[in-house]
């Protein structure tokens, strides 16, 4: 009876600590996207290079990444070397969504830092960004053959996020 008396508050305390501990490790800026498992919003946008538009319909049948970036975005510079490596490895095509940017600035930025994108599309007024629920550039979406969003990375890509989440998922989807 005596052990029961102090073990209940102790158990409650341990549960509370566990919750708080997990809460400490979570990033409140990462809002889970409601788009996961849903069809990627369609778009038909002008490309940054050349004047042919690109639409989501053309991307059906392959696994692709959509990387939302901008020339004004500072943390895009952080993930850029990884995107270049990814492009070099040729594992998965990466399409760049140039978000709320001046096309001239974007072209200059890519010329200076290297262009990892299979194609870049221009979302000057940010409407496609809103459709994709973009709120913190850079963001990266993994989209499968059927055009379903399978994963969303908020913030810059990292070696860990690529190796642990994105690349295994891409390989799985490409099977």
């Amino acid at each position: 009876m005596k052990t029961v008396r102090w073990s209940i508050p102790l158990a409650l305390f341990v549960v509370l600590i566990a919750f708080l501990w997990v809460g400490l490790g979570r990033d409140p800026r990462e809002v889970p996207s409601p788009l996961i498992g849903k069809p990627a919003p369609s778009f038909a946008l002008h490309q940054l290079h050349g004047d042919k538009p690109l639409s989501t319909a053309e991307l059906r049948g392959k696994v692709w990444l959509l990387n939302v970036w901008a020339s004004w975005c500072v943390s895009c510079r952080v993930e850029h070397p990884l995107l270049l490596q990814l492009a070099k490895a040729g594992i998965v095509p990466v399409y760049g969504l140039d978000y709320k940017d001046k096309p001239d600035d974007a072209r200059a930025w890519l010329a200076q830092n290297g262009d990892p994108y299979t194609a870049s599309i221009v979302d000057q007024d940010g409407r496609v960004g809103i459709d994709y629920g973009v709120y913190g550039v850079p963001e990266t979406f993994v989209i499968d053959r059927l055009g379903i969003v399978r994963y969303k990375q908020i913030g810059p890509l990292s070696v860990e996020s690529l190796q642990e989440k994105i690349l295994p998922l891409v390989r799985e989807l490409q099977k």
């Binding site: 409601p34 007024d125 809103i130 629920g133 709120y135 913190g136």
Partner: protein, 162 residues
């Protein structure tokens, strides 16, 4: 300057009157529309600066979302449709007043459940204590009482020093 032809003058005057009338009539309607938009915006969260509403935020995304809300409202969408539009893109997090559903019931019920649990615990502890007090009174046996008295008498003696 040539005086304008009578017909043109007439048309211009009519147009002017119409525009004046229209703007005059639009003013109260617009005010209502503006308050509706403002109310809606103050119920929605800006995702960039997460503790500000769309109405308060100066972030460029908030500007875009305000534009979107206004356009949706102008196209005849209801408040609920506009909320649903944003929830479909950004999740329930955009709502300052999250809906009650499977993933949020703990959030809604939790504090009340905790309060009720604590209240019940408090009540049972009080009950038990009261009960315990009463039962010791009842079960005091003469031997124990005598022993207690002896101990009390003992303490009357001057304290042992050294």
């Amino acid at each position: 300057m040539r005086p304008c032809p009578r017909l043109a003058c007439g048309i211009a005057l009519a147009a002017f009157t119409l525009v004046a009338a229209a703007t005059k009539m639009d003013v109260p309607a617009d005010a209502a529309f503006d308050t509706r938009i403002k109310t809606l915006e103050s119920e929605l969260r800006c995702l960039v600066c997460q503790n500000q509403t769309l109405a308060d935020s100066n972030a460029s995304l908030a500007e875009d979302l305000r534009r979107e809300v206004r356009e949706l409202a102008l196209s005849g969408k209801s408040d609920n449709e506009i909320r649903a539009y944003l929830v479909a893109r950004y999740g329930d997090f955009v709502l300052y007043d999250p809906p009650l559903k499977r993933t949020t019931w703990l959030l809604w019920i939790g504090p009340f459940a905790l309060l009720a649990g604590g209240g019940m615990l408090w009540w049972t502890v009080l009950r038990r204590r009261e009960h315990a007090g009463r039962s010791t009174q009842r079960t005091t046996d003469p031997h124990a009482e005598a022993r207690g008295r002896a101990l009390l008498d003992d303490s009357d003696e001057p304290p042992h020093t050294g």
